[in-house]
Structure formats: C-alpha cells, structure tokens
Amino acid sequence: MTPFSLFFHRLASPPYFYELSKPWGRVFAWLALVLILTALYGGLWLAPRDFQQGNGYRIMYVHVPSAWMSLFVFMVMAVSAFVGLIWRLRLAYAVAAASAPLGAAFTAVALVTGSLWGKPMWGTYWVWDARLTSELILFFLYLGFITLNRSFEDQQTGDRAAAILALVGAIDVPIVHYSVDWWQTLHQGSSFKGLTSEIAPAMLWPLLVMMAGFTFYYGWLVLWRTRSEILLRESDREWTRRVIGS
C-alpha cells in the first residue's frame, strides 16, 4: 500500500475518523468564524454603494455563497455516494447523510434571499425562469434524498438506496449552474468566467472570502454531524460503547 492509500484506509475507519474529526472540526469552526466576520466587515462597511442597486446588492454576500454551497454540498454527497457504493465505506454514507440537511438548508437560504432580492430587482418575488426553477428542483432533490434515506427500517439499505439517488440526481448540478448560459433568463449570468470577473474588486473580495467562510462553516458542521451519524450506524460495535461510556 502506498502511504496515501494507507492514510485513506485509516481515515475511512470510523473510530479513527471519530478521533480525528474533533480537532479538525475546531479548526474549521474558527476559520469559518474569522472568514465570515472579515467578509461581513468588507462587504457591509468597506464595499461601496452600487450606483444602480444602492445598498440592496449587499444581500449578495449571503445569496451567492449559499447558492454556491447548495451546489457544492450536492457534489460532496454524490462523491461520497460513489465512494460508498464502490468501496463500501460506511463512513462515506455517514458523510452523505450528514450533508443532506445542510445542503437543503443552504438551498432554502439561496431561494429565500434570491426571492427577497428579486422583488426590488425584477418587481416580483418569483419568476418561472430556468435558474430559479432548477434551484427549486435541487431543493426537492435534497428532500427526496432525506426521505429515501429515512424510509427503510435498515439504515444500511436506506444509505445505499439514497446513494443511488444522489448519483443520478447529480445531473441537476450542472443544469443549475449552466442554466443561465443555456436559456435566456432574468437571472444574472455567470460573473466568474475562469479567473476573470466583472465585479469591482472592492465588492468582489468580500464575496470570495464569504464563500470560503461558508465552505469552512459547512466543513465544521458536516464533521460534527458525521460524528453522530457514525455513532448511530455503529451503535452495536465495541468502540462506540467505549466512546459513549467514557
């Protein structure tokens, strides 16, 4: 075994992960806190008023990161589902199950903030355009995943069934992302093309920092939630009894 696959194997063992996730979770939590506070400062104080939108655009600092997370989390779920199905790693299923409610929450936030932003921008809370609708569908996919995962008496059956759904549903992620290019929509086109961007740097950097902050926030939450998912799945094992006992 190469050192890398050795590391991978050790990490995949639930007790080891359980140990390791605690310090890493702390690190992620602190990073998230610092980044989000910095971004808030940058976005709410330093960034200038927009000459068209006034201060309204600042909702972007919540909307865009949560929209981005809604896609990112689903990709994480699809990858874990794949790993779980191929290598039969229970840890991967735990990660997917822990991610789903978080992803659903991010999606909901993106939908709500988008709607709120839509009222001043488009004059209505909701239009049936491609990006909005596909994001809504993504939300239903999350719900479907959660429902299916909980539908079986046996947790492993639920995990694997939901994993299959996550893999098939992953097709929606590119559709959400490219919807603005494929159809003419009311929604803003992609602002990031490669490394160049149309947004003024003073507005842009807080956004990027905020996105990093959201990602670490998710990282912290998912580690934390995965720990309890593992305990649930391994509750009849020796090591869990030790952990719970201590």
Partner: protein, 208 residues
C-alpha cells in the same frame, strides 16, 4: 469437501441471531436446519444464497473461498424460500421456461416435462399459477429443482402445503440428488425426513 462455513455471524436488522456458526457439509450429504420460530433459519439460508448481507464469516466451496454474489456460486445454487417465486399470471410451464431463461438455458423442454410429470403437475401445466392451490404452487416450485439441476440446494421449509404424496415425491427426489453427490440444507420443523437420516443437524438457538 463440499460446503464449508467458518465463523459466520448471523444478524437480522439489529438482532444478533448467532455469533459464530461453523459447519461443513461434505458432498452427497444434507443438513437439517431446525430451531424455534424466529431463530434465524431463513436468515441463514438467505445469507448463504447471496441475498442477505454477510458481515463476518468465511465460506468455502471445495476448499476454496468464494464470492456469494458471483456467477459461479449462483449457477451452482438453487434457493427456494418461503415464497414460491412464481408469477401468478403465468402458467406453470411458462414459469419454468422463464426460470430457464434466468439460467440462460436453451433446451429445457424435456427436463421440464419430466419434472412436471414427476410432481404430478403435468395436467395443470397450462393453468395460471394464481389459480392453483397452495400445494400445487409449491409443486411447481419444486419442479425447478428437478428440471435445472445444481449441486447446492438451499430450501426453506420445502414441504409446506404439500400432501403426503407430494412429500413422498420430494423425499425420493432429494435422495436422488444426494446420491448424485449433491448437497442440501433444509430448514424444517417436523423431522419429516425419517427415511433419510440427515448427516448433520444444526439447531439454532432461542429467538434473540
């Protein structure tokens, strides 16, 4: 050599049914699986067939470890569970022909006919299975064992709903199978099998 099972842990859902089962069935022998209701007989058969989940334990065939879900194991195994596995809308003959297609067999008419005659179902061969009586359906299911020979039989209460004549038939069929070097595990409650002494008996414990 036959089938060799080592250190098998039997679970159903979260219930631990047996912690370490080991047994060996030489070719030409059969094992009677008994135990109170809910002790795990069906579960064991499902695990050996490849349906249920195997968590810990090793399986060997002729001394070689094998993959329960591989085609080699599948083509040497016939499993008959609590349910007959017959499509109600199809007749007995059609069901058997469908089963032949599962085994990718081309020529099966003759053995199927022999089997139907042996189990006294030849005259009912064209009746849709949903219009057969419970025991008649069971007989059709047993025809599978005769028409499509395989060395390993995993049978879950195979004589349920059979009349005495049917049981008779099944017993002589089973002893043929054993004589030809076949292996079988039978879950059963009444040791009906008086004529044939099982080589092995495995008694599973009290329902966990």
């Amino acid at each position: 050599m036959g089938l060799d099972v080592k250190g098998l842990e039997l679970r159903r859902g979260r219930r631990l049914l047996a912690s370490s089962l080991s047994f060996e069935i030489p070719n030409g022998n059969f094992m009677e699986l008994s135990g109170p209701n809910g002790s795990g007989k069906s579960t064991l058969l499902r695990v050996l067939s490849g349906l249920g989940r195997l968590e810990t334990g090793q399986l060997f065939w002729e001394g070689q470890p094998f993959d329960r879900t591989g085609d080699t194991h599948r083509s040497r195994t016939l499993y008959l569970g609590h349910s007959d596995g017959l499509k109600g809308a199809l007749s007995g003959l059609e069901n058997l022909s469908l089963f032949a297609s599962f085994r990718e067999l081309r020529h099966f008419e003759e053995p199927v006919q022999t089997a139907l005659e042996f189990y006294g179902m030849y005259r009912f061969r064209d009746v849709p299975c949903m219009r057969l009586s419970q025991g008649q359906r069971r007989r059709i299911a047993l025809c599978r064992l005769m028409a499509f020979p395989a060395p390993l039989w995993l049978l879950d209460e195979p004589t349920t709903a059979l009349d005495p004549l049917g049981i008779e038939r099944f017993m002589s069929h089973l002893s043929d199978h054993l004589a030809r070097g076949g292996l079988a595990i039978l879950a059963t409650h009444q040791s009906l099998i008086e004529r044939l002494r099982p080589t092995m008996q495995l008694r599973l414990g009290r329902a966990g």
